[in-house]
């Protein structure tokens, strides 16, 4: 059970939970912070223009960035890039999650599988996934397969590791209780091991979603014709800073939404941890 605080989002949540502000006030503070950030950004880019600090093209104000986004949206261009990125993330993350959870459950539950899989994972894991991107391109070419495969590869690790951890941390007493109630084989697996490991699996999925958006951008820098990463790289080539920042904003929103979706799933599936 993921009661320890293992990631930055969890630490942040714990901090927010600790303050126990009423809902409305918390929301007001959050929106206020976003507004303050936009205001500061506007102020800075305005100052650059007024004080002639450097070429204002380097730091366009938020209005220019959102203007560029609206422009791309109106011309339909934004949706093509957004769809390309989303499709890659969905396919890559979906495969990574399926393989990570399945292999993690097997390795967590069956010592022989663990002894085969874990050393390989432990050898590959310290290599930053990005170091493997050129390999993927060499192996499967520059097309979709290498991008999707790369996300699968990168997201596999956190999901696999948290799943193994979740299975191995199951209270042996629960397994004994289940067995003496007649649970064996597949029944034991689906009715006890899976639900007991679920909180950890969901933590892994959340880390995986974040990582998927992290690595897709870089793989879209190389040899892509669509995608938000392509938009950023294209913006760099043609010095379209608002386009670069716009794509980054969209990526930020996507990552935020992805995290929110998994959180929603967590809240639904692990309601038993904090019932009303």
């Amino acid at each position: 059970m993921a009661q320890f605080l293992s990631s930055v989002p969890e630490l942040m949540d714990a901090g927010l939970r600790g303050s126990r502000l009423p809902r409305g006030r918390a929301l007001a503070l959050r929106l206020g912070a976003v507004a303050a950030f936009l205001a500061l950004w506007s102020l800075l880019s305005g100052a650059v223009v007024v004080l002639r600090l450097f070429n204002p093209i380097f730091l366009p104000g938020p209005w220019l960035v959102f203007g560029s986004l609206l422009d791309m949206a109106a011309r339909g261009q934004l949706w093509i890039h957004l769809a390309a990125t989303l499709e890659r993330v969905a396919l890559g993350f979906g495969t990574g999650a399926a393989v990570g959870v399945a292999l993690g459950l097997a390795a967590g539950h069956l010592p022989p599988v663990r002894n085969v899989v874990e050393p390989v994972v432990e050898l590959l894991r310290p290599i930053p996934p990005l170091a493997m991107l050129p390999m993927f391109i060499v192996w499967v070419g520059i097309g979709e397969a290498s991008k999707v495969g790369f996300i699968t590869y990168a997201t596999f690790f956190p999901i696999f590791l948290t799943t193994v951890n979740g299975v191995r941390q199951i209270d042996p007493l629960l397994l004994r209780a289940a067995q003496s109630l007649g649970a064996r084989g597949l029944g034991l697996f689906t009715r006890v091991i899976l639900p007991a490991a679920l909180p950890d699996i969901l933590t892994g999925l959340r880390l995986g979603v974040a990582l998927a958006f992290f690595v897709i951008v870089i793989s879209e820098f190389i040899g892509a014709e669509h995608g938000l990463g392509y938009l950023i790289n294209d913006g760099r080539n043609f010095f379209l800073v608002p386009q670069m920042l716009g794509a980054a904003v969209v990526l930020g929103l996507l990552g935020y939404a992805g995290n929110g979706l998994v959180r929603l799933l967590e809240r639904r599936l692990t309601r038993w941890q904090h019932p009303a």
């Binding site: 209270d171 007493l173 629960l174 004994r176 209780a177 289940a178 067995q179 003496s180 109630l181 007649g182 649970a183 029944g187 009715r191 006890v192 639900p195 007991a196 679920l198 692990t270 309601r271 038993w272 941890q273 904090h274 019932p275």
Partner: protein
């Protein structure tokens, strides 16, 4: 399915050592014990005497180093639904509601939903938790959790129930309430129960027979048949007499551990 007239549980020359051969630590000496159908037998002894080890062997969680355990004449080779277990730490499934926990056994046996509901209702009524049917274990007190665990074991209709210091984690008052409840349930259900405890009072209150064990390696030191009425009074003179008789025997063993 019962061997006619034969004992429900037969523990035959069961011994258990832990650790590598040669340097093994003997936990259980040789134990021979029969438990009759509908009998409640308490295993009593100083902590570390191997009483829980013996229970775990009967449950099938541990294999004995030598000897066998028979239930209804069939040798025990692993945990099975015919032997329900109630643990000191409750071991409820935290992701299942009270109802979900109680119906776990019937669910595994693919009992139809209507029958499961009847079973759950019956046993939740028996332990007085009908009103808490939809709660999750985190929402329950220790005493309530243990009631759910007892209902869960009963709902699976096992041949025998093994209880490993089930009330050991509860405060003194809750403990007595649950002893009362178990005594009442036993008058209704007439289960064959092997009950591990280190409380002499609890043993005298619940047991048909009290088996006092020696300190390590655990052997049977003495067996007391408790000839008291079904409904017992903790302050009756006969009750306290049993208590002091058994206390004397247990103290000898505790003293040995201290030496």
């Amino acid at each position: 399915m019962t061997t006619a007239g034969g004992p429900k549980i037969q523990i035959q020359r069961v011994a258990k050592s832990f650790g590598a051969p040669g340097r093994a630590m003997e936990a259980l000496g040789q134990i021979d014990l029969d438990v009759a159908e509908r009998e409640l037998v308490c295993l009593l002894g100083p902590s570390g005497c191997g009483k829980s080890t013996l229970l775990n062997i009967v449950a099938g969680f541990l294999a004995p180093t030598s000897g066998t355990v028979l239930v209804d004449g069939h040798p025990v080779s692993g945990p099975a639904p015919e032997r329900g277990v109630v643990f000191q730490e409750y071991a409820l499934f935290p992701w299942r509601t009270v109802t979900g926990n109680v119906e776990f056994g019937p669910l595994l046996q693919s009992r139809p939903a209507a029958e499961r509901r009847r079973t759950v209702d019956r046993y939740l009524d028996l332990v007085g938790l009908r009103a808490h049917a939809d709660k999750f274990p985190v929402q329950l007190s220790g005493g309530m959790k243990q009631r759910v665990a007892i209902a869960r074991a009963l709902a699976n209709n096992p041949a025998v129930i093994l209880m490993d210091e089930p009330f050991g984690a509860l405060d003194a008052q809750t403990r007595e309430v649950l002893q009362d409840e178990l005594s009442r349930i036993q008058r209704v259900e007439h289960k064959t129960i092997l009950f591990v405890t280190h409380s002499i009072r609890e043993a005298v209150y619940l047991a048909d027979r009290v088996v006092v064990m020696t300190s390590v390696p655990g052997r049977i030191k003495q067996v007391f048949a408790v000839k008291l009425p079904e409904v017992r009074d903790r302050f009756a003179q006969e009750f306290t007499q049993y208590e002091s008789d058994i206390t004397r025997v247990v103290k000898e063993e505790v003293a040995k551990v201290r030496e």
